[in-house]
Symmetry: C2
């Protein structure tokens, strides 16, 4: 159907491509497909009963207030709870430093709206979170990608790229999406120093920080920066904006995330959010507060960690047992993902095509590279499928890879 | 506190001003202030019990599914329900024409993101909805304002402004926010014709359409345009995008609105929404569906209409009884607002200052004019306060106005 509207799309829509992840999710929604493609939490871990009780309590205590419009900044007790939880990681922030968002994805969108002029450079990891690229493409951002290895950002590469004058540095230091890599403490210290030297602010995205399955907690960039600048403890320095979410600890379906930022930045973000969706669901904020307080969240996260640790271990063991030689993978200490590197000649898109026929799916790595490289890489999710299905899915994937490797052997070898 | 972030705001933030409405709401939150300033529904009308039951049913029937990520387009049964309800207004749309948004405000934001290039002209009513200006300022829109009267858009003025080549025409034909005015059927027909002549698409914003307290329903622009173009009934024509919301019929706190648009536009809007907030709260969509189906919504809206009709009548009677001469107002057939015009010499901002001292509040009209005119106008909300408080609030406001008028008398008249 031809309509007047369709002739009038804005320039920025040319860069809006449908997320590869989401298009794939559609392909792989059939129950017989074992999907390592999405980034979905395990539904078995959702606190359905506790959530229902919390909802009942909110409606009984607040009634109509929970269904009414509320402030753009967010529900004050929830902001206070978030601020209080931040202090346990060695940083002092106030509720006024916190804006509640409609999921962490909205935090990325609002940051784009408030900070990105068309053509601005944003320094990103290579690979980086696809959803951030999607959010910022709408503001016509350009990307400069710094190299990473098994310890995260390679600081020399960051320094070189900082000379292009990026608006900010985007970093996912914990169990990165997509690579599963965690930035080492030494690298974090050096990133803070180099960012300070060049006067570049940092955007720290930390959706998975609490989902660590082994090793010691590494202080976040926001904490390290505050310690770096502060002589009297660790008052929030304001040079790192920090994002997190309830999606991986409570429920993604309630769409609740938050931003920690300097008060003058919060003010602008609030103005942007007013025009964007007025405020985040009142009732969801109240229920999340009710569900989180009194120690429930900590207990619940412990359970999630146990479930995901087993799934990660199952996947790592299955990869070691079934995968053909020539393929390597990361060994994440937490989070939801690990990262495959196929032989150079192998195209992950072609692997996916073969895999879907065998009823197993994953995300080819290219989408996660701002420069379109990474043709022979792939992201595997280990949080959503049960251990049995993980084992079976890896076996299926291994068979595809073996077939592809066999057909790649030079013909004259026969 | 000086931070690196605060030095780096994007150009578009220069046009983001904090909403006058929201700043006022903060001032007038004290219980002793009678506020006609907000656009809040009456909390007494919220279906707290029914909502609680619906939530219980959703959690019992769907459990974890209600807390999981879901599709960007929205919950299919809810989209089908909305499509089905549209047919009763004489237009055939499919669920695929519908995108669920995080409130109607997000619909305005997504339209801006997908359609507005910096500097694009948008044709708006004078006055128009403040939230639309806020949403589109972020995309650096420019506005051309056409004149309105008691029948809505003056079509000759629209035609003149269409010659400036606006991207689209923005219209709120029913009980407009802020003026309370309803566009006449004849004007609607002529607007459709003139838009067709100039090839200008229309964005119809209809949050209050179901809240009519007297007179006959006037067909919406989307219906009239479809009839205008269709020889075989009224298949959706696609030249009018239509927005509405559950905020005024069920609850604003759940943040649920929708867009009716051509499928190729929905596709772009979905891509924009993916980057903006992934999707709207799963559980809220399921609960809204559960709460709306089976005839509840129609029964509930009847009750709301009865409550608001009484409040409107109370306000109109109080204005007629207490207000000094020289002030006029609109007589809305529905919606939440009416519109005051003070004498030319009177500044509504100064009236507000005096009013807040007397513990009564409203919104000065200037914010609703894209060109900053309207200094002697004001918006009054009649849905939120009880009839007793409406009566008392109008009395207080009348006293302020009398005092201002007295002090304006030439001194030599004494």
């Amino acid at each position: 159907m031809h309509t007047l509207w369709a002739e009038r799309f804005a320039q920025r829509t040319q860069r809006m491509k449908s997320s590869a992840v989401r298009e794939l999710l559609k392909l792989t929604e059939l129950p017989e497909v074992i999907s390592f493609a999405g980034g979905l939490p395990a539904p078995e871990t959702f606190p359905v009963e506790h959530f229902t009780e919390s909802f009942g309590k909110v409606m009984a205590d607040f009634g109509a207030k929970a269904l009414q419009y509320s402030t753009t900044e967010g529900y004050r007790p929830l902001r206070e709870l978030i601020a209080e939880r931040a202090t346990r990681y060695g940083i002092r922030v106030e509720a006024d430093n916190i804006l509640i968002t409609s999921g962490s994805q909205q935090a990325l969108d609002l940051i784009g709206k408030v900070f990105i002029n068309p053509g601005d450079h944003i320094l990103v990891e290579s690979p980086t979170y696809l959803g951030a690229l999607q959010a910022w493409n709408a503001y016509q951002a350009e990307y400069v990608a710094a190299a990473t290895d098994h310890d995260g950002y390679i600081v020399e590469s960051v320094e070189q790229k900082l000379r292009t004058g990026p608006k900010f540095i985007y970093a996912l230091p914990n169990f990165q999406n997509p690579s599963g890599v965690t930035m080492s403490l030494e690298r974090r210290h050096r990133l803070i120093e180099i960012a300070d030297h060049y006067g570049a602010p940092i955007l720290e995205d930390d959706p998975y920080g609490q989902l660590r399955y082994e090793g010691e907690h590494v202080p976040s960039l926001v904490t390290l920066d505050s310690q770096f600048r502060s002589t009297n403890g660790a008052q929030y320095s304001g040079n790192v904006i920090y994002l997190s979410t309830f999606s991986k600890t409570l429920s993604p379906g309630i769409r609740l995330g938050w931003i920690v930022a300097p008060v003058e930045v919060i003010r602008k973000l609030v103005q942007a959010k007013q025009g964007t969706d007025l405020h985040t669901s009142t009732v969801n904020q109240m229920v999340a507060y009710e569900a989180s307080r009194g120690g429930f969240l900590d207990q619940h996260v412990k359970m999630i960690r146990a479930v995901y640790r087993e799934r990660r271990d199952t996947m790592l063991a299955a990869l070691a047992q079934h995968f053909p030689k020539g393929i390597s993978w990361t060994r994440p200490q937490g989070g939801l993902f690990l990262w495959l590197t196929f032989p150079e000649w192998m195209d992950a898109g072609k692997v996916l095509k073969a895999a879907v026929e065998q009823k197993v799916a994953f995300v080819p790595g290219t989408s996660f590279f701002a420069d379109g490289t990474g043709h022979n890489t792939a992201r595997l999710n280990f949080s959503n499928a049960t251990p049995e299905r993980i084992e079976e899915g890896v076996k299926r994937l291994a068979r595809c890879l073996e077939t592809l490797i066999e057909s790649h052997q030079p013909k004259d070898a026969h």
